[in-house]
């Protein structure tokens, strides 16, 4: 047994070996083979007073590594290993060091612990009651703490930089997505614009000659129904072209009060032949539907798209129901009420899952087989409803069918009657200069105006029209195409008016990039019609500008 008082006195004498130990290892201690602590460094007094001479090693320390050591005498055989000790009173206070058998350095059998506190975070020094000076200059552990702190700070910086880069990457990807979408829409726009001009000229001829044929056919003629179908098909093709232009935002909308019941019945006539025998179609119109604010072509296009989609969602057959209901909605954040009319298209088809629903209105998204759909239908409906000032809702369940709801603003005004085909063409009189480079359309328009009583002079290009003017020919009205070789219709009009003054002019075009014409912001004695148009619309426009004083 070691006498504590004697040991302390021994320590206080500060023999040179002890003084060196104290300088190099402020946390040193020695332990006898009996398990009692024989010597301690001075620093223990303020850090852990229970580490004192005479205390039992096992009661003060726990050996974490090497594991499984029972009893101090075994320590000597692990003298070349790292010891990790923990203070039992403070389990987060670790010591790292080695036990040196006494016989290696003196004639004592005691084991000397040469080491000190072990920690890896600079900030933990304070928590443990330590200071950096507790690691003497020879001891790299103090410096290691600074190295680790620097690495931790650097890691935090890099983590922040990574987060920033990730955010920027996300933003960049979103921008790329938007750019791709814009490029897609531009592509559609270029395609639609390029196609619309020529395609609408052809449709104009089909539609116009069908109209001329109907004028010749007696009311009971069996051919009449077929010609009507040709005209309807041309109308449908024209609405597809318009949808493409709308999707690419190149087609101006004409919002007006529409007689919804009347328009829906016309739509029914258009779609019935397309549904096939397996699909039952029904329409549930309340007695007083009233008027809605919409573009007539857009309404037809949207309903056609939804009904054809419903048909395609029922490959084994089923039913499509068109319903109409009124709704009143409060504007968010106000007491204002919006009076709406809901037009629903319900099918009993395959329905959609949540993922499909979330992508439904994206351009070029389709669930149809390759070659059976471009994926423009519902995105067109979505775009058209927005332009009509309305909205679209969808409800669907896999295996149970789908309902689309179009919500239009209700109009307090009565519909003016949009169907030009029903109007008789106004009788005309006077001289018309017709400038059109497309022979099919030129011949048609010449015939239509001739039948309406106008004397028509034709020019196949703007230069020929200018020749007629230079020769002193007089005209009451000019009807001109917009996009022609050498000169546009508006340029031709400007050149003529520069010499003769205001000339009543009707511009007709399959598609125009001219923003003034497209938006209808034109002179009072000018009109613009987009091909294909009904003969009655053209006659009405000519009669209107011919009557207006040009000055």
């Amino acid at each position: 047994m070691i006498d504590p008082a004697a040991a302390s006195a021994h320590a206080s004498r500060r023999c040179p070996e002890v003084a060196v130990l104290q300088e190099l290892f402020p946390f040193y201690f020695s332990v006898a083979l009996s398990g009692e602590i024989a010597q301690v460094g001075e620093r223990w007094g303020s850090i852990a007073p229970e580490v004192k001479v005479g205390a039992r090693f096992d009661e003060v320390f726990e050996v974490d590594r090497p594991s499984g050591l029972l009893g101090v005498p075994r320590f000597a055989s692990h003298a070349d290993e790292i010891f990790l000790l923990r203070l039992r009173s403070r389990p987060n206070f670790w010591l790292r060091g080695q036990f040196i058998p006494g016989e290696r350095v003196s004639d004592s059998s005691d084991l000397l612990f040469a080491g000190g506190p072990w920690l890896t975070k600079l900030k933990d020094l304070h928590t443990l009651g330590l200071e950096l000076r507790d690691f003497p200059p020879h001891d790299p552990r103090g410096d290691l703490l600074i190295v680790l702190q620097t690495q931790e700070s650097t890691l935090a910086d890099l983590s922040s930089l990574t987060a920033r880069l990730r955010e920027e990457l996300k933003h960049q990807k979103a921008l790329e997505g938007q750019l791709r979408q814009i490029q897609k829409m531009e592509l559609v726009g270029r395609f639609a614009g390029g196609m619309a001009h020529n395609f609408n000229n052809i449709l104009m001829a089909i539609h116009g000659y069908a109209a001329l044929s109907l004028m010749r056919l007696t009311p009971g003629d069996p051919l009449r129904e077929w010609v009507e179908q040709i005209k309807s098909a041309a109308d449908h093709a024209a609405s597809l072209t318009r949808a493409l232009l709308t999707l690419s935002r190149q087609h101006p909308m004409k919002l007006m009060p529409l007689d919804l019941a009347k328009e829906l019945r016309e739509i029914q006539q258009l779609v019935m032949p397309l549904l096939g025998e397996r699909v039952r179609f029904s329409m549930d119109l309340p007695p007083s539907v009233g008027s809605v604010i919409a573009d007539v072509s857009a309404l037809k296009q949207m309903m056609m798209n939804l009904i054809i989609n419903a048909r395609d969602a029922m490959p084994q057959g089923g039913s499509v129901t068109v319903g109409v209901a009124t709704r009143v909605r409060k504007e968010s954040g106000t007491d204002l009420e919006r009076h709406l009319v809901e037009v629903s298209v319900t099918d009993t088809g395959v329905g959609m899952d949540a993922k499909t629903k979330s992508q439904l209105f994206e351009p070029f998204f389709t669930t149809k087989e390759v070659g059976k759909g471009l994926g423009l239908g519902l995105s067109t409906v979505y775009g058209l409803m927005q332009q009509c000032g309305g909205s679209i809702e969808v409800e669907s369940e896999v295996g149970k069918g789908t309902t689309f709801r179009l919500l239009f603003q209700r109009s307090s005004e009565a519909a003016s009657g949009s169907s030009a085909a029903a109007r008789p063409a106004p009788a005309g009189g006077g001289r018309v200069l017709l400038v059109e480079d497309e022979p099919l359309v030129r011949n048609l328009l010449q015939q239509l105006m001739g039948r309406a009583g106008y004397e028509v002079a034709v020019a196949a290009e703007p230069a020929a029209a200018l020749d007629l003017i230079k020769r002193g020919e007089k005209f009451d009205v000019m009807v001109t195409d917009v996009q022609m070789p050498g000169m546009t219709g508006p340029q031709l009009s400007a050149q003529i008016e520069a010499t003769l003054g205001p000339m009543p002019t009707l511009f007709v075009s399959g598609h125009t990039d001219d923003p003034v014409l497209a938006q209808g912001a034109i002179a009072p004695h000018h009109r613009y019609l987009q091909k294909p148009f009904a003969p009655a619309d053209m006659m009405a426009a000519i009669a209107e500008i011919a009557r207006k004083p040009a000055h």
Binding site: L122, K123, L125, H126, E131, L132, R133, P137, G142, D143, L145, I146, V147, Q149, T150, Q151, E152, S153, T154, A156, D157, L158, S160, L161, R164
Partner: protein, 189 residues
């Protein structure tokens, strides 16, 4: 200089003038909008450029900014950046810490191998004053040291007066004459 130094410049400007001013200063100095990396060495021109731009943007003279930076470094930044124990462990009193400055910088250089720290000696020590001799290769940093020393006053609850003198012999260096008194004895103006 290491990113650590530039981070402290950024921290000072953001805390004193706000994020918007920091971005204007950063932009004026031609420094990209990205975090400084603590252990990455940057060209000294980045730090000098930031200080010059900050002076132009705020109208505060460069010397005053350097002094503010010094105070910020010792009073705020060292603790925030996790190096508080380094400062605490360097000395229990102001003279002890100043005598240990070389040792402190040696410890730091072990982490920042490209560090080019200044040298220090303490002379003419009395219970309330001393002379700190400062040897550095870097031009224009001396005003920063005035701020650093005053920042130590915050650390030890002292009010420290600092006067600087340029000495050319035996080697060119700056001498900082420090006098101090406990903070509670300072006049409450």
């Amino acid at each position: 200089m290491y990113g650590l130094i530039n981070k402290a410049v950024e921290g000072l400007i953001r805390s004193k003038f706000g994020d918007e001013v920091w971005h204007r200063i950063r932009s004026r100095a031609g420094v990209p909008d990205e975090p400084f990396i603590t252990s990455q060495p940057y060209d000294d021109a980045v730090t000098y450029g930031l200080v010059a731009a900050a002076s132009e943007e705020t109208g505060i003279p460069v010397d005053d900014l350097c002094e503010a930076y010094g105070r910020y470094w010792n009073s705020v930044y060292t603790e925030e950046a996790g190096y508080g124990p380094l400062l605490h462990g360097a000395g229990r009193t102001l003279p002890e810490l100043l005598r240990n400055l070389n040792h402190l910088h040696t410890r730091v250089k072990i982490s920042y191998s490209q560090l080019n720290p200044p040298g220090f000696t303490v002379t003419d020590e009395t219970p309330r004053s001393l002379n700190l001799h400062y040897y550095s290769d870097r031009p224009g940093i001396a005003p920063l040291l005035t701020g650093l020393l005053k920042g130590l006053g915050d650390h030890f609850s002292l009010v420290i007066d600092v006067t600087r003198t340029r000495v050319e012999t035996p080697a060119p260096h700056d001498v900082f004459h420090l006098t101090w008194k406990p903070r509670e004895q300072a006049p409450s103006s």
